[in-house]
C-alpha cells in the first residue's frame, strides 16, 4: 500500500493529479484516491491513501460489496454497492473517496502506483498492508477532518525537531 513520509512531503499534490488522471483522464481532487492533508498554519502536510489497515472497518459494508485483494487493497464489487457511504464514513483516516455515487479506494493503479512515480520528493513509497490504525478508530468527523487529524497526530516530533534546530539540510 502507499505510505507517505510527512518529513519529506512538500504538499504539491502531484500525487492527486497523477491519481485522478490515471483513473479518469481528468484532474480533480475529488477523483483522487490519495489526498494530501495540509495543515498550513503549522507547516505539516501528508498524503493519505488506503493503508490496508489491520482493522478494516470499511468491511462493515452493509451490502458486502467490499473484499480484500491480493496486496491487501480493498476491492469494490460495483453491482453490489448501493452508495450508502458507510465505508467512507468509517475509515479512520478519511482515505476513502467518493465521487459520482461510487466509493474510491486506492487500487495501486493495478501495480503501476502512479502517485509514487510522480512524487518529486520520494515521500511516497510502497508498504505492506496491515498497519494498525486502532489509535484512530474513535476519531469523529468528516473524512477531510479525519485526514487533518491524522496529519496533526504526526506533527509533534517533526515540529520538535525544528524547535531543536534540525534544518532541511540536516
Amino acid at each position: 500500500m502507499i505510505h507517505c513520509d510527512p518529513v519529506l512531503c512538500v504538499g504539491c499534490r502531484m500525487c492527486e493529479v497523477a491519481c485522478s488522471t490515471f483513473h479518469f483522464g481528468a484532474v480533480s481532487p475529488a477523483l483522487s484516491r490519495i489526498r494530501v492533508a495540509k495543515l498550513e498554519a503549522i507547516g505539516i502536510e501528508v498524503a493519505i491513501a488506503c493503508m490496508g489497515c489491520a482493522e478494516k472497518p470499511c468491511l462493515e459494508c452493509p451490502t458486502e460489496a467490499l473484499t480484500v485483494g491480493a496486496r491487501g487493497e480493498i476491492l469494490l464489487e460495483r453491482d453490489l454497492c448501493n452508495a450508502c457511504e458507510t465505508c467512507v464514513e468509517v475509515c479512520p483516516v478519511g482515505a476513502v473517496g467518493f465521487f459520482d455515487e461510487e466509493p474510491l479506494f486506492c487500487d495501486l493503479c493495478g501495480g503501476a502506483t502512479s502517485c509514487i512515480e510522480v512524487c518529486p520528493t520520494y515521500a511516497l513509497s510502497s508498504r505492506d498492508a496491515g498497519i494498525s490504525l486502532a489509535a484512530y478508530l474513535e476519531v469523529e468527523g468528516l473524512p477531510r477532518q479525519k485526514r487533518a487529524h491524522y496529519a496533526e497526530s504526526l506533527a509533534a516530533p517533526i515540529r520538535e525537531s525544528w524547535r531543536r534546530g534540525v534544518r532541511v539540510d540536516a
Binding site: V7, V10, G11, C12, R13, M14, V17, S20, T21, F24, G25, A26, V27, S28, P29, A30, L31, R35, A37, K38, L39, E40, A41, G43, F99, P120, T121, G141, L142, R144, Q145, R147, A148, W162, R163, V166, R167, V168, D169
Partner: protein, 595 residues
C-alpha cells in the same frame, strides 16, 4: 478570433445580487479576460477605492490541469497605488479550486455596507456575514474560516488588517502566504468590505485531446527537469539570486547607495537555508517545489522569497537575517506587499541618513540603517494606519509629497509603484521593464532574464538580436522587453508560475499552443496566442492612456539616470532610459508613446 471563453460570476456587493455570465470573448484566460473587462466596463476617472471600481479574480482554461504549476489566479482592478491598471497574481492552491468549482472569473461590483465573505461550493454561492473576522490577520482569518466551515481543505483568499484599512499596497493572500501582492488589490477588496473568498470545488478539468495535452505536459516537465537551474531552485527558490545579483553588482544595499553589502554572507540564500529553512514547500502540481518553510525564534511561516529576504535585510542595511525573516512573516500576516513595505522603510532610512527627515518626523522611530525598531514597528503602524503609518500607507510617492522635494528625489518608484530589490542601472532590460510596463515600477510583468544569461543564440532565437543577451547593453532591449511582456501576459493567462515559464524560460508560445490545443481539442497556434497577447497589451496601454498616462512617465527615478552605481562590479553604470524607451515604442509601433 475567439480562442476561449469562460464562465464569469458577477457579484454585486451593493445589492447582494449574484449573476452568472461569460468572460469576454477575446482572451485566453486570466489577465487577458480581466484587462478587457476593466477597459470595457470601468468608467474613466473613478476612485479606485470607491464602489465604482471592479475587482476581477480570474483563472484560465489550463488552471488546475495536469500542466505543471498552473496554480495562479489574477486579481485586477484600477490600482489605488498607481491610478492605472492594477493586477497581481497569487500562486498556491486557491486558483485550481476555483477552476474545479466551475468558475473562471469573478467580477465584484459595488461595495457592501457591512463586512462579508463570499462562499462558493461549486454552484452554491452565498454572500455571508464576516463581522466576526474583522481585525483578524490573514492566517487567523483562514484558520477561523476552515474551522467554522468544518473543512480544513477549503481554499481561502483573504485580506488582513492592511486591506481593511485601505493601505494602498495591501495584498490578497491564499494559503496564508501566497500573495497577489502588487498594486494594492487587497485595498480594493477592503473598500468593498469583502474580507475573504472561500471556495470548494470538485468538477474535473478534462483535456479534450488527451494525447496532445499529455505530450505538452511531458515536454514542460522534461524542460524543467533538464534545466540548469532546476536543482538550485529546489534548494533555494528565488533566494538563489541574492548571490548572483551581488556578483553582478546590482544589490540595492542601503537603498541603492551601494551595490556591495559587506554582511552578505549573513543574509544569503545559504544562510537562510542553513539557519531557518526547515522544509521545502510547493504550490499546486509543481515538481520544482521551490518554496520553503521557515522557523525562527520569533515566528514561523512560508517564505521568504528573494524580495522579502533582500528587502528587509540588504536594502535596509540589516544584517540580522532572523529579524528579516520574521518581518517577512509579519507583513504576510498583516497583508501588506513586502516589496512596497521594504521600499518604504529603506527610503525612510535613507531620508534620515541624508538629514531630510528626523526620527521625530516618524513618531520617534529609530530610522538608523538596519534599525530593529523600524523593521518591527513600521509594518504594524502601516497596516493599522496608526500615527505616521497612516501617511506611509499611502505609498512612497504620496508620502514624499508630505516630506518635500529632497525626500521625493530619494524615492524609487515608477508611476507610484515601488521598485524591487535590485539596481536597475546594471540590468538594462529590467530598467526598461520597470519604466514602461502597465503596472508601474515592476520587474515581474515578464522577466527579461535573457539579458542575464549571456546566451546570444537564445537572444537571437527569442528576439532576433544577440546584444539582448548582455545585461549592460542597451541595444536590443526594446525587443527583449516586448517579448518578455508577451511571455508575462501569456503566463498570466495560462496562470502558470512565472518563475518557471519566464525566469527558467521553459515555456514558449509553441509549447503554450500545444497545451491550449490539447486542452481545448482544436488547433491553437503560437501565432494565435501571440496576437492575443499583443492585442491585450494594447488594451492595457489604452486603459492607462485613458486614465491620463503621459509618455513622460515611462521613465525611471532620476537617481538611476543621473547618478552612476558607486561601487562594485557595475561601478560607473547609469541608464540611458530615454533611448531604450524610444526603442521599445518602435517595437510597439507607437508614435512617441501616444499609443
Amino acid at each position: 478570433m475567439s480562442i476561449c471563453r469562460g464562465r464569469s460570476l458577477r457579484i454585486d456587493l451593493t445589492t447582494q445580487e449574484i449573476d452568472r455570465g461569460l468572460t469576454p470573448d477575446n482572451g485566453i484566460g486570466g489577465r487577458t479576460w480581466n484587462s478587457v473587462t476593466l477597459l470595457e466596463q470601468l468608467k474613466p476617472g473613478i476612485d479606485p477605492l470607491g464602489p465604482e471600481n471592479l475587482l476581477c479574480i480570474a483563472v484560465g482554461p489550463l488552471t488546475g490541469s495536469e500542466l505543471i504549476a498552473t496554480c495562479r489566479f489574477i486579481a485586477s482592478a484600477k490600482s489605488p497605488l498607481t491610478g492605472y491598471l492594477g493586477d497581481s497574481g497569487a500562486r498556491g492552491f486557491f486558483a485550481p479550486e476555483l477552476r474545479w468549482a466551475g468558475h473562471d472569473q469573478i467580477v465584484f461590483t459595488g461595495a457592501s455596507d457591512r463586512w462579508v465573505y463570499l462562499f462558493i461550493d461549486n454552484d452554491r454561492i452565498e454572500i455571508r456575514d464576516a463581522s466576526h473576522l474583522v481585525g483578524l490577520d490573514i492566517t487567523e482569518t483562514t484558520v477561523q474560516l476552515q474551522t467554522e466551515l468544518h473543512d480544513p481543505d477549503i481554499q481561502v483568499a483573504a485580506i488582513g488588517p492592511a486591506g481593511e484599512h485601505l493601505v494602498r499596497y495591501a495584498i490578497i493572500s491564499c494559503n496564508l502566504t501566497r500573495a497577489a501582492g502588487r498594486t494594492g488589490m487587497g485595498a480594493v477588496m477592503g473598500s468593498k468590505k469583502l474580507k475573504a473568498i472561500v471556495v470548494r470545488g470538485d468538477r474535473p478539468v478534462k483535456p479534450l485531446d488527451p494525447q496532445r495535452f499529455k505530450a505538452a505536459c511531458a515536454l514542460l516537465q522534461s524542460n524543467i527537469e533538464g534545466h540548469r537551474q532546476f536543482e538550485s531552485r529546489r534548494m533555494y527558490g528565488t533566494t538563489r539570486i541574492m548571490d548572483s545579483l551581488a556578483e553582478m553588482g546590482v544589490l540595492p544595499a542601503y537603498h541603492y547607495r551601494s551595490a556591495v553589502y559587506a554582511d552578505l554572507a549573513k543574509v544569503s540564500a545559504e544562510a537562510l537555508r542553513r539557519d531557518h529553512v526547515v522544509k521545502s514547500k510547493a504550490c499546486y502540481n509543481c515538481n520544482v517545489y521551490c518554496s520553503r518553510y521557515n522557523y525562527t525564534s520569533y515566528s514561523e511561516g512560508e517564505g521568504p522569497e528573494y524580495e522579502a529576504q533582500a528587502g528587509f535585510t540588504v536594502k535596509c542595511g540589516n544584517s540580522d537575517l532572523e529579524l528579516g525573516v520574521h518581518v517577512s512573516n509579519m507583513v504576510n500576516r498583516l497583508g501588506i506587499d513586502c516589496i512596497s513595505t521594504a521600499e518604504v522603510i529603506a527610503w525612510l532610512m535613507e531620508c534620515r541618513h541624508e538629514h531630510v527627515i528626523s526620527d521625530s518626523d516618524v513618531d520617534g522611530i529609530d530610522l538608523s540603517w538596519g534599525s530593529r525598531d523600524a523593521l518591527l514597528r513600521i509594518p504594524q503602524m502601516i497596516a493599522q494606519r496608526q500615527g505616521i503609518g497612516d501617511l506611509l500607507a499611502e505609498g512612497t510617492r504620496r508620502a514624499a509629497e508630505k516630506f518635500g522635494t529632497s525626500a521625493r528625489k530619494l524615492t524609487a518608484e515608477v508611476k507610484g509603484l515601488e521598485l524591487f530589490s535590485a539596481d536597475p542601472r546594471g540590468i538594462k532590460g529590467y530598467a526598461l521593464m520597470n519604466a514602461v510596463n502597465s503596472r508601474g515600477g515592476d520587474h515581474y510583468r515578464g522577466e527579461p532574464m535573457i539579458e542575464l544569461t549571456g546566451d546570444e543564440d537564445l537572444a537571437m532565437r527569442r528576439v532576433g538580436n544577440p546584444n539582448a543577451a548582455h545585461r549592460l547593453a542597451e541595444d536590443g532591449k526594446g525587443a527583449l522587453v516586448n517579448y518578455a511582456e508577451h511571455m508575462g501576459l501569456l503566463s498570466d493567462s495560462m496562470t502558470i508560475c512565472k518563475n518557471i515559464s519566464c525566469c527558467m524560460d521553459v515555456v514558449d508560445f509553441d509549447l503554450a499552443g500545444e497545451a491550449y490545443s490539447g486542452l481545448l481539442g482544436r488547433d491553437i497556434t503560437a501565432h494565435d496566442l501571440w496576437k492575443v497577447c499583443s492585442r491585450v497589451s494594447q488594451v492595457e496601454r489604452d486603459y492607462n492612456l485613458r486614465e491620463g498616462l503621459r509618455p513622460e512617465e515611462d521613465t525611471l527615478p532620476s537617481r538611476f539616470i543621473d547618478t552612476p552605481i558607486p561601487d562594485g562590479p557595475s561601478k560607473g553604470t547609469t541608464v540611458d532610459i530615454g533611448r531604450m524607451v524610444k526603442d521599445y515604442y518602435g517595437e510597439k509601433g507607437w508614435e512617441a508613446g501616444a499609443r
